[in-house]
């Protein structure tokens, strides 16, 4: 059981999209003998727990969490993102899936040179890279128990029925207001940032999730959603084409193994930060952190 709990935690953690996670909260330490889901947002963790209750295993919960996070913290996660999953299955198999995004073929040296200030281009359709999250979920589904329609249900419900805007959501909205009001005013609350405590719905995302849940992941890369994206890109001077989407593959890789004070570790390989984590932990092994308090300068700096 311990092993499956740790794989659950690792899977959920690693399936998150890669942008910075802003949420920092203080909460009591919780324990469970039956399984536990952690996520950057309580509603996403609840989505994972709901899937466990329906008979899903860690990977099922991780998929549900990933989809739910895309709804409740769209500034940090989502179908348009990328990631890396590293999981240890109950039978001991180690799995690593690399679903980082790829640049479209038209994002070549010549076009990038002509595009102007790349700091600004990144906020235009030209800045879009082929998303890896749907393909990563597709690969993870091969190891899951429950169908995508069940795993996507909590995310669809959140997007359709609404949820309360958090302080973090609101702050990111404030910080990014200028760019949001210029590029996607419809995302805002009548032109203004969403306030903490407000009720947020995302029917367009719910519709997209419903299409994926009904038609499968392939619709994102080869079907209806690929056609929609291709049309949007052509109309708005973007570079991604359906051919880029069709060519995308999530990659199965070998995780890297290491140890820390007798614990076996399985981490993602390069270019994700796994090797760095192992190196850091191996250095830390030489220090007795247990005798230092959490705020001991030696503990912090080591």
């Amino acid at each position: 059981m311990n092993r499956s709990i740790s794989s659950l935690i690792i899977a959920v953690f690693c399936l998150l999209a890669t942008q910075a996670i802003h949420a920092v909260t203080v909460a009591p330490i919780l324990q469970s003998k039956e399984g536990m889901v952690t996520a950057a947002h309580p509603l996403a963790a609840a989505a994972g727990a709901e899937i466990l209750e329906k008979g899903g295993k860690a990977l099922d919960a991780a998929i549900a969490v990933s989809l739910a996070l895309g709804v409740v913290e769209p500034y940090a996660s989502g179908l348009g993102g990328e990631g890396y999953m590293d999981a240890v299955m109950a039978d001991g198999r180690e799995v690593a899936i690399d679903f980082r995004s790829t640049a479209p073929a038209m994002a070549n040296y010549k076009n990038l040179n002509k595009a102007g200030d790349l700091g600004k281009v990144r906020y235009t359709p030209k800045g879009y890279c082929v998303a890896g999250v749907p393909a990563g979920i597709g690969k993870a589904l091969e190891l899951a128990n429950l169908p995508l329609s069940v795993l996507a249900a909590p995310a669809i419900r959140l997007a359709e029925e609404s949820f309360e805007v958090t302080e973090t959501f609101s702050k990111v909205n404030m910080d990014r207001w200028e760019i949001l009001s210029e590029k996607t005013p419809g995302f805002l609350d009548d032109g203004m940032p969403w306030a903490a405590g407000a009720t947020f719905r995302n029917p367009a995302l719910a519709k997209t999730l419903r299409i994926i849940a009904k038609k499968g992941i392939d619709t994102f890369y080869k079907g209806e959603l690929a056609n929609n994206l291709d049309r949007f890109m052509r109309k708005n001077d973007g570079w991604t084409r359906k051919s880029d989407l069709k060519a995308y593959r999530a990659l199965s890789k070998e995780p890297i193994n290491g140890s820390y004070r007798g614990y076996d570790l399985s981490v993602p390989g390069s270019p994700v930060g796994g090797p760095r984590i192992l190196a850091t932990l191996n250095i830390l092994e030489h220090f007795n952190l247990a005798i230092m308090s959490w705020d001991d300068p030696l503990a912090i700096h080591r």
């Binding site: 609101s170 702050k171 404030m174 207001w177 940032p193 405590g197 407000a198």
Partner: protein
Amino acid sequence: MKNRVFQVILACSLFTVFSSVSMASEVVLTPFGQSPDAMMVKVVLKKLGVNARLEKLLEADGFQEEKVLITVVAGSSKGLGEAGIDKDAEITRMKSVADVAKAKGMKVLVMHIGGKGRRGTLTDMFIVEAVPMADKLIVVEGGNYDGLFTRLVEGTDLEILPANSVRETTEPLQMVLTEWGVVEQ
């Protein structure tokens, strides 16, 4: 004939609409801390029909016969960096701007619209300097979570005008600007 009547009715309606709002730029807006929040207030003012001039680095000699100075407080390291000034220079700028505004008989409205998320060491430093400049003070919910604004207005006649969100600052803004003769009732 029908067209003529319609035109007259339309003209009268438009006149009625426009006569209730400010036509000239009677409001000058500047951030205190160089966050983008002042731009949001400009949008809210536009919804109220108030044409405000936004000057990110308004100086004491930069007024153009406006009646009201609105300063929106929130510290942004990025904004200060882009503007090429540090926090001390920003405080000096705002103090001299507010002094001249008062000397000209202008009203000063201080706003904090970012809630709890727009508080912190840098912003608090600006808030402490800004509140004494204010004739009126609007604070969006969460901004006064620790009672900082309450402590700063203690013993003064200044009242904190609350709003639930940036969007809902229209209500206190309309009230204040009506009282100051910028918006007609």
